[in-house]
């Protein structure tokens, strides 16, 4: 949902990116119109358009004149590539910092990561396990 931390057009662009990465929006699929985004999120249509256009400029979406916006071929792998670059800064560093604060050493951290990886690869079983632990 929209929050106050950053410009709304950036948040709209990120939501669309997330949907592409998650596969909710397939490549070559049509993206909702800016007016649909505006009505759904209750935001200014010009702001929604700015978010969408940012992705057009970026080559993630493309415009079919008179029809609408579509997800470009190859968009998903481009986005995943970028997310991987950010992964270290966004997730690993804060995690390592918190682990250090709590006195969790590297070995324990690795063990935990192994456990997470095991549960994530088998989602239904993971939910049961998490309930137990």
């Amino acid at each position: 949902m929209i929050d106050d931390s950053r410009p709304i057009f950036l948040q709209i662009a990120e939501m669309i990116e997330n949907d592409i990465v998650d596969g909710v929006l397939a490549e070559e699929a049509q993206v909702p119109s800016t007016n649909e985004f505006a009505a759904f999120h209750r935001i200014n249509p010009a702001t929604a358009a700015k978010g969408v256009n940012r992705l057009v400029d970026d080559g993630i979406l493309y415009k079919k004149r008179g029809i609408g916006m579509f997800v470009a071929a190859g968009a998903r792998s481009v986005l995943i590539g970028r997310r991987r670059e950010d992964f270290y800064e966004q997730f690993l560093r804060p995690m390592a910092r918190e682990a250090c604060k709590l006195g969790i050493d590297n070995q324990q951290l690795l063990t935990m990561l192994g456990r997470v990886a095991a549960t994530e690869s088998d989602a239904p079983a993971a939910m049961e396990k998490e309930g137990v632990q």
Binding site: I8, N35, R42, N44, P45, T47, R97
Partner: protein
């Protein structure tokens, strides 16, 4: 591509010893939704009255659609001003008000007005005098939307409307604007409610323009940071502080200006807590800040008086 439809330069309005507008210059562009924000008595209504030829300037230049608005049918037929407390003739019913609006506004959409009246559960055949405060506001909201004027001002249009009705107003405003883009100026105290609807924000305080910027530039233009006082102080050194609050050894500051990614990381590594600041909070901080720095004492004194007098002046025209 963006065209100015309103140009104001160095506009002032003085009521005896009160300066309601003090050297205001601004431009409104076609097909944008503006928020005109500020405290009571800041000059919002005075400004809108002058732009709609319902009030007079003491000095300065005003151009609406490139012309002087006063007694100018060409200009006035293209704009709509919904006042906070619009007065209607004593025996008027909503149906009469809508018929009058239909005569005046060439883009008037009767079907939209009828639909909105139904949505707001407005009794069309009850005398306006007998309507509740919320129903009276609904009459204004409906006229403002159904007139589809190229330039529409809503001055605190929601008085007495409950949360559901206000949401209805915002949703219908967005939907109709999406279909029929036009310039809308929304003056509001309920900033959090309207913040996401606005493309551009003008904050006015004590008759002066304090902020005139795209809403998305303002969003994220301040950040709140909290933690142990000495760490917060050293992090904030050299930065403009909009607000400071402390409890025990903890200090929370609202800093003006966005943080860079590096600064964010630094704050996180120091264990400081970062939080976004809403548009409403930014307006509060900036207007309080301006009040303090101008060293005003008593200039907010009974400001509602001014706006009230003005409303009556406008209504009697």
């Amino acid at each position: 591509m963006s065209t100015a439809i309103v140009e104001v330069s160095n506009l002032s309005r003085v009521y005896r010893d009160v300066t309601a507008l003090d050297g205001v210059s601004l431009t409104l562009e076609r097909d944008k939704i503006y928020g005109l924000l500020g405290r009571n008595g800041a000059g919002k209504t005075t400004l809108m009255s002058i732009l709609t030829a319902q009030g007079f300037a003491s000095s300065g230049e005003v151009r609406v659609f490139g012309e002087h608005p006063y007694e100018n049918e060409q200009v006035l037929s293209r704009l709509c001003f919904i006042r906070e407390s619009q007065k209607y003739p004593d025996d008027f019913k909503p149906i009469h008000a809508f018929k009058a609006a239909a005569l005046f506004y060439q883009n008037w959409d009767h079907a939209l007005a009828a639909q909105l009246a139904q949505d707001f559960a407005l009794p069309m055949k009850r005398r306006i005098k007998k309507l509740s405060r919320g129903q009276l506001s609904a009459v204004g909201v409906i006229i403002g939307l159904a007139s589809r004027a190229e330039l529409t001002f809503f001055d605190e249009p929601y008085l007495g409307l409950d949360a559901v009705a206000r949401q209805l107003f915002y949703d219908r405003l967005l939907a109709d604007y999406a279909e029929f883009p036009r310039t809308i100026v929304l003056s509001s105290h309920l900033i959090d409610e309207v913040a996401n609807l606005l493309e551009h924000v003008i904050i006015i305080d004590q008759g002066r323009i304090l902020v005139d910027d795209d809403a998305d530039n303002i969003r994220g233009s301040a950040v709140s940071i909290a933690g142990p006082a000495h760490l917060v102080e050293s992090f904030a050194a050299g930065r403009a502080v909009l607000h400071r609050e402390s409890i025990g050894a903890l200090l929370a500051l609202t800093l003006d200006g966005a943080l860079t990614a590096a600064e964010r990381r630094e704050a996180q590594e120091l264990g400081l807590e970062l939080a976004p600041v809403s548009l409403q909070q930014i307006v509060i901080r900036k207007t309080l800040d301006a009040g303090a720095s101008l060293g005003s004492d008593g200039s907010f004194e009974d400001p509602t008086d001014i706006e009230r007098k003005e409303t009556q002046m406008g209504a009697s025209r």
